[in-house]
């Protein structure tokens, strides 16, 4: 039996990448220079080293961005630095789709072939790339570029979308939307020849937010009108009024305002925000944490991205208020890695607010101390589930935890944690600045305030829209210009892949939590995706099934296998080779869906059949 006493060494580039995150190694044991005076008798490690486990994802990101993939020696070096068993770190690295543990060319084009982009000919883009570069996931002949398929990139209003990542000393990550094969190939070419690819510029924000600059907007008031990089511009536009008021009235009354406004979460579960904050504030264990859930990966959703790109200071201010109210001193903002511009704007906003005394040890001279860290996901939809998100920050596989205990009791690092969606937080500002009563005057009794909707698919003006709760689906579609002339609506997907399909007979549905519930649908993350009569809906359903199969964390049997059986079933339907009759297949689909809904650990499995079943249940919606 061989014992491997010495692990193969990481390359200088790999080592340098890790050291930028972790600092130089402290001792010979951690891979540094041997020095008998310091290393002679004891290894450093133990609790101190293990308490840095949360730096695993940042370290993996650093290597991936520098080298383009994570080799065994690089992983080994990270493990030694952080005292993580290599098998566990390998399990983490292989969990996230943006980390590659096999050699991969430095320049990668991630092409979204998800539902909104399918409607916008993403398959044609993929076919062109396949002709030019060969099959997905294989290196180009010169070994410098490759392309692969990606789930929704959160750019659905500008479909089809792509994400370009180029590893190197100055790594590039940039969204290209709308994308075409020629443009992508040009960018890859630039990257391959070592020229700075130049940040591929996406279209200006204007078309994405057709209402920008209109009077009466609450959440989008500053979007497209106020410089998102300047803290002074933000303050001049009314920024930090809300925090000032919160500091003046104290934590309890701040929570009381949020409760009185009847704000509920916009991340999908519609949980009352005031109740969540009160529970964390009252939790005896310390410290408390606040987390902003900016993992936005629900297909069709791009609202949080636009808020973070165009109004990043609002997110920082709202998190600060949340921390003040719940008694937290540290916050984490967990951003999906596919949002490079949002990362840049938020990083800038954090630096500027720190510089202006709006974040840090003594905020606005009040003595209140709070810090925010930006953490990036690495390609996993399930990490938007709150407990999976905590595990991901902690440097583990993004596997959801069983609840109870709930995050307000045991969340991040096992401590009481208030976690909220970006849009939820954006609502906190008008509530505090203008008071709960003024806030709740808009909307309906059951759904107060305004709501952001992400319109995409076959509408004339896709983009982000803000309307008061209670606006009907038809009115919203009219705002977006309806479907193209000569076409009519086949189906509308509400709430994303985990949502519900409705027919055009539902246009009079008021868009509220209670209104959508009444028709057996949900608002989910605010997705309104329109499919006209030219769309092959069965193909869309098959893509949704593939999405859940790919994104299941794999922990629990109902979801791990159920999503596969569901996808197989849809393939059979789409190919016209059902087992038995189509009705038999629908009955089996119902059985699979029921078990996933009842017995899965988390919301991913519980909703994995929701949209698909809703489409197939409605007579005539899908031709079989």
């Amino acid at each position: 039996m061989d014992l491997r006493a010495v692990a193969p060494r990481p390359s200088p580039a790999e080592r340098a990448a890790v050291d930028t995150v972790l600092g130089p190694p402290e001792s010979g044991w951690a891979g540094g220079r041997r020095d008998s005076a310091t290393d002679g008798h004891a290894a450093r490690g133990g609790h101190e080293a293990r308490s840095r486990r949360h730096l695993l994802l940042p370290a993996l990101h650093a290597v991936q961005a520098r080298v383009g993939w994570i080799s065994e020696p690089a992983l080994g070096y990270i493990c030694r630095r952080l005292t993580i068993p290599p098998a566990e770190a390998y399990g983490v690295a292989t969990f996230y789709s943006l980390f590659s543990t096999a050699p991969q060319p430095p320049a990668v084009a991630h092409i979204c072939d998800d539902i909104a982009c399918r409607v916008a000919s993403a398959e044609a883009v993929c076919a062109d790339l396949e002709r030019a570069l060969g099959p997905a996931r294989t290196a180009s002949p010169d070994g410098r570029t490759t392309w692969l398929r990606s789930p929704c990139l959160g750019q659905c209003d500008r479909a089809p979308a792509a994400l370009l990542t180029v590893a190197g000393e100055r790594p590039v990550s940039a969204a290209i939307a709308p994308a075409d094969a020629a443009g992508i190939l040009r960018q890859l070419e630039h990257a391959a020849t070592g020229m700075a690819p130049g940040t591929p510029t996406s279209a200006p924000i204007g078309p994405s937010v057709p209402q920008a600059g209109a009077p009466g907007l609450r959440l989008l008031a500053r979007v497209g009108t106020v410089d998102p990089t300047s803290v002074d511009a933000y303050r001049a536009a009314g920024g930090y009024r809300a925090l000032e008021r919160a500091l003046a009235i104290g934590p309890d009354r701040t929570i009381a305002e949020v409760t009185a406004a009847r704000l509920v979460g916009r991340g999908g579960a519609a949980f009352p925000t005031g109740r969540k904050w009160a529970a964390v504030a009252a939790a005896p264990a310390r410290p408390h944490y606040v987390v902003c859930n900016a993992d936005e990966s629900e297909p069709g959703t791009f609202k949080d991205r636009i808020l973070m790109e165009e109004d990043p200071f609002a997110v920082v201010e709202a998190m600060t208020i949340e921390a003040f109210a719940t008694g937290a001193e540290r916050g984490f903002l967990y951003l999906r890695a596919e949002y490079p511009l949002a990362a840049e704007r938020l990083t800038n906003a954090l630096a500027r607010t720190r510089g202006a005394g709006l974040l840090g040890p003594d905020i606005l001279g009040s003595g209140f101390a709070f810090e925010i860290e930006l953490r990036r996901g690495a390609g996993a939809y399930v990490c938007g589930e709150e407990t999976a998100l905590f595990n991901s920050i902690e440097g583990k596989r993004g596997e959801p935890r069983n609840k109870p205990p709930f995050p307000v009791e045991r969340g991040l690092f096992g401590r009481p944690t208030a976690i909220n969606n970006v849009e939820t937080l954006a609502n906190v500002l008008p509530i505090l600045a203008d008071g709960a009563a003024a806030y709740a005057a808009t909307g309906t009794d059951g759904s107060t305030g305004t709501k952001l909707f992400c319109l995409s698919g076959n509408v004339a003006r896709p983009g982000l829209y803000e309307v008061p709760f209670g606006t009907t689906l038809g009115e919203l579609l009219d705002l977006a210009g309806g479907v193209r002339d000569g076409r009519h609506i086949q189906a509308i997907l509400l709430g994303g892949a985990a949502g519900t399909f409705v027919g055009s007979d539902r246009l009079d549905t008021p868009l509220t939590f209670e209104g959508t519930r009444a028709i057996g649908a949900s608002l989910g993350s605010g997705v309104v995706m329109v499919f006209d009569d030219a769309t092959d809906l069965l193909d869309i359903l098959r893509r949704i099934a593939a999405f859940f199969r790919d994104e299941s964390c794999g922990q629990c049997v109902p979801c791990r296998v159920g999503t596969v059986r569901q996808e197989e079933l849809l393939h059979r339907l789409a190919n016209g080779h059902p087992r038995g009759t189509a009705a038999d297949e629908l009955a089996l689909l119902g059985e699979i869906g029921r078990a996933m809904r009842d017995a899965s650990i988390c919301g991913l499995g519980q909703t994995a059949s929701s949209a698909i079943e809703s489409a197939l249940r409605q007579p005539g919606l899908v031709r079989l």
């Binding site: 039996m1 061989d2 491997r4 065994e72 992983l75 068993p85 290599p86 098998a87 566990e88 770190a89 390998y90 399990g91 292989t94 969990f95 789709s97 543990t101 996993a380 596989r397 069983n402 199969r549 790919d550 994104e551 299941s552 964390c553 794999g554 922990q555 629990c556 049997v557 109902p558 791990r560 296998v561 159920g562 999503t563 596969v564 059986r565 197989e568 087992r579 089996l588 059985e591 699979i592 029921r594 078990a595 809904r597 009842d598 017995a599 899965s600 650990i601 519980q606």
Partner: protein, 305 residues
């Protein structure tokens, strides 16, 4: 020879062993299971409550000596007021809980879990599964012959045990036994995601190149025969494995002062495998490489013995 008094005089001891001050017993929890009232100690799991009532509850990823991971979902029960079914193996009881263990919803989910596993994993060596399939009316064949499976070649890379992940239901038990629940070696973990998730060493290297110390505690906890003594594997392959003809004898491990209980499984006067009872107080059924695999010397008989 006279012994030095130090060997003959007992050491001075306190006159009695100190005991912890007694704590008040927590009040028992009253709840109802399948419509019948039950009283169980505070902190019990629903599974314990069910077992106390004599209700046979299937489990796959649960074992008394491991932390519950509640991933297989075969033990789910219906609790009034809960939107989804809850795992009996990990949820603790609460006063007034109303639990259904055999409702339509429960039976359906258990059936589907069995069908999902049965259609993707080789369960032929998993005890009890056939009985539960029968009870819940599971029919794994209905997903068709092309239903995707986890089938893959057996990993035979060392002399002590084999890993046949075609039989792996991903119950996480081996990972727990290798990790904080017993061995603290962390040689294996779950890698990949979703249906492609697999139990793996670092970078999927063969066991001899991994951190594995061959305690075999993973074999001890594996519910499906995915992890198996090399001796058992070879005998099965040769067609000589005959469980009915085996005897089980408890003894004490001869190697060190921990004194683990060993159960020797003997066929034709040869030790074929070694296990340890879960209720063994010191190590709860876990062993080390010596107790688990170091039995061949017993059989090193001289010619004709």
């Amino acid at each position: 020879m006279t012994l030095d008094p130090i060997f003959t005089t007992p050491l001075a001891r306190p006159s009695r062993v100190p005991t912890a001050p007694s704590r008040p017993e927590p009040a028992p929890v009253e709840l109802s299971i399948d419509g019948r009232a039950a009283t169980v100690p505070t902190g019990s799991t629903i599974l314990e409550a069910c077992r106390a009532q004599g209700i046979d509850t299937p489990t796959l990823c649960f074992l008394e000596n491991l932390t519950p991971v509640n991933v297989c979902r075969i033990c789910v029960v219906e609790v009034t007021g809960s939107r989804v079914l809850v795992p009996a193996c990990s949820r603790t009881v609460e006063p007034g809980m109303e639990i259904q263990t055999d409702s339509d919803r429960v039976r359906h989910s258990r059936k589907m879990v069995l069908e999902f596993l049965g259609s993707s994993v080789d369960l032929s060596l998993a005890p009890d599964v056939a009985r539960y399939m029968e009870r819940y009316g599971a029919d794994p064949a209905r997903y068709g012959p092309v239903a995707e499976t986890v089938a893959q070649p057996v990993k035979i890379d060392n002399e002590l045990y084999v890993r046949d992940y075609s039989r792996c239901i991903l119950c996480y038990k081996c990972v727990e036994a290798c990790g904080v629940d017993a061995q603290n070696t962390f040689a294996i973990a779950v890698a990949g995601r979703g249906f492609d998730a697999r139990i793996s060493t670092e970078a999927n290297v063969p066991l001899p190149a991994s951190a594995c110390v061959y305690c075999g505690n993973c074999i001890g906890v594996c519910p499906t025969g995915a992890l198996m003594f090399r001796s058992e594997f070879e005998m099965r392959r040769a067609g000589t494995w005959d469980e009915a003809a085996q005897t089980q004898t408890d003894t004490i491990c001869p190697y060190c002062g921990v004194g683990c209980t060993l159960t020797l499984h003997v066929q034709d006067n040869e030790i074929v495998t070694v296990t340890s009872p879960l209720d063994q107080q010191i190590t709860e059924g876990h062993l080390c490489i010596k107790g688990r695999f170091g039995f061949r010397f017993v059989q090193n008989r001289a010619e004709g013995e």
